[in-house]
């Protein structure tokens, strides 16, 4: 008998194709929890439970693939900010005295770190520089609802001069008549952030981070990470910074430097 053959990558295709014909069962996982598992919002132990179900449930496997695709589109780091356990830790057993000494050193380091961090919020010392005005021309062309002559460039003089209060006012007014304009949202967010209003900056920067061209989105994600950090959402900020550092953003080097200053290991950094 000639056995049917499914070679190489077609194993993947055949595996995925089954999801098209599967129905959801009572045991199927809540989609929100699957999203949380993929974006690292829940602990690996809990994530493993959801993923184990998806391994044998074609319907949930389809949801899992959709979650991965959506997380990548959203610019999130698949698996979150968790990083792998060094392989040597699992493979070799150290002598007990060495493990005890290492634990003591770690405890001392952790105590020093806690004392140091409680003395001052490191984010309070993070300086924010103004984004250069480079996005408007292309964005004006792309903005379909903008009437002729009603361009963003016409109101950006205060921003270019560095008069951020006036620029913020002008951009807020512009956004009322052009809600969601990507570049206007971005520069409005930057103004708010530099004026010390990071919580208000977040929604504009988020809007910009999901709109416009790639360069605008990359810039918006960088400032969004800074806004998150300044508003106390440190985990979210670090997750974004790691995503920026790991990708091909022009802010990658800045993100790695900032992570280093914050005492956080950047993706791909040495031990």
């Amino acid at each position: 008998m000639n056995a049917p053959s499914i070679a190489g990558d077609r194993l993947r295709d055949a595996f995925g194709a089954l999801a098209d014909i599967a129905d959801t069962s009572a045991e199927c996982q809540d989609a929100g929890r699957m999203w949380d598992a993929v974006t690292g919002a829940i602990a690996p132990e809990e994530a493993r439970q959801h993923l184990a179900h998806a391994a044998t449930c074609p319907s949930c496997a389809a949801v899992l693939r959709l979650a991965r695709a959506a997380a990548i589109e959203a610019g999130l780091h698949v698996g979150g900010e968790r990083f792998a356990v060094p392989p040597s830790a699992a493979r070799y057993r150290s002598p007990r005295w060495l493990a005890a000494a290492a634990a003591l050193v770690l405890l001392a380091a952790a105590a020093l770190l806690i004392v140091h961090r409680s003395a001052e919020d490191p984010w309070s010392r993070v300086a924010i520089s103004k984004a250069p005005y480079v996005h408007a021309a292309e964005d004006d062309l792309a903005w379909r609802n903008a009437p002729a002559g009603d361009s963003l460039s016409a109101i950006m003089d205060p921003y270019v001069r560095g008069d951020l209060a006036a620029a913020e006012e002008a951009l807020a007014s512009y956004l009322k008549s052009h809600p969601g304009h990507p570049a206007a949202s971005f520069y409005h967010g930057v103004c708010l952030l530099m004026l010390g209003r990071p919580a208000q900056a977040v929604i504009d920067l988020e809007s910009a981070s999901l709109a416009g061209d790639l360069a605008l989105r990359q810039d918006a994600l960088w400032y969004l990470a800074l806004a998150d950090g300044k508003t106390g959402r440190h985990e979210e900020a670090i997750r974004r910074l790691r995503g920026i550092a790991a990708g091909d953003s022009p802010h990658g080097e800045e993100a790695r430097r900032l992570l280093s200053r914050l005492g956080v290991r950047a993706p791909g950094a040495g031990p």
Binding site: A31, L66, R68, F83, P87
Partner: protein, 178 residues
């Protein structure tokens, strides 16, 4: 003209418009091709869900884009599941095989039974191997699986290698040559 306020929440219509645009972007980018006709409905549904949360939680809860993406994602999954339950849908085996044949006539070689056998063999693997092989087959990279599962990268690669070997052996026993 000042923006309109929506009652006691005090959220301006401009803000709502921005949230809507974020949801539109999220659904538009991540939506599977066969659900494209329902994009407007899904955006509206996601917006209603967001407004519902707004009524129950402090405003800060919806201010992160990852939250809005989560809402968009769950809305898409609900639509995906609804679309599968619709009576006009062609029955499972016919739909899969017809679609596969149209896309690639050679794919008929990987029949419905073969796909079921792959799932069956996968289900027989030891738990950690099953997890990493399933993620591998779902398109996750080793680094992503490592972060998701909390395993070291070397462990993930070893489990994938050994798990795929087990999977192929199981399929061979069933008369399928991977």
């Amino acid at each position: 003209m000042p923006p309109q306020e929506d009652g006691d929440r005090g959220r301006s219509s401009v803000d709502l418009e921005r949230i809507r645009r974020v949801l539109e972007r999220a659904v538009g980018r991540a939506c599977p091709p066969h659900l494209r006709e329902s994009i407007e409905d899904m955006v509206q549904d996601a917006l209603v869900r967001t407004m519902d949360v707004l009524g129950k939680q402090p405003e800060g809860g919806i201010r992160t884009s990852s939250y809005l993406w989560r809402v968009a994602f769950t809305t898409m999954v609900d639509e995906l599941r609804r679309s599968r339950r619709r009576p006009e849908r062609v029955t499972g085996r016919d739909a899969a095989e017809t679609a596969a044949a149209v896309a690639d006539p050679a794919s008929l070689e990987t029949s419905y039974e073969t796909r079921v056998e792959i799932r069956d063999c996968l289900g027989r693997l030891a738990e950690p191997r099953k997890l990493v092989v399933a993620l591998y087959l779902d398109g996750f990279t080793a680094e992503e699986s490592s972060r998701l599962l909390g395993f070291g990268i070397r462990k993930v690669r070893n489990l994938t290698f050994r798990g795929l070997k087990d999977l192929r052996r199981c399929l061979e026993r069933k008369g399928i040559r991977p």
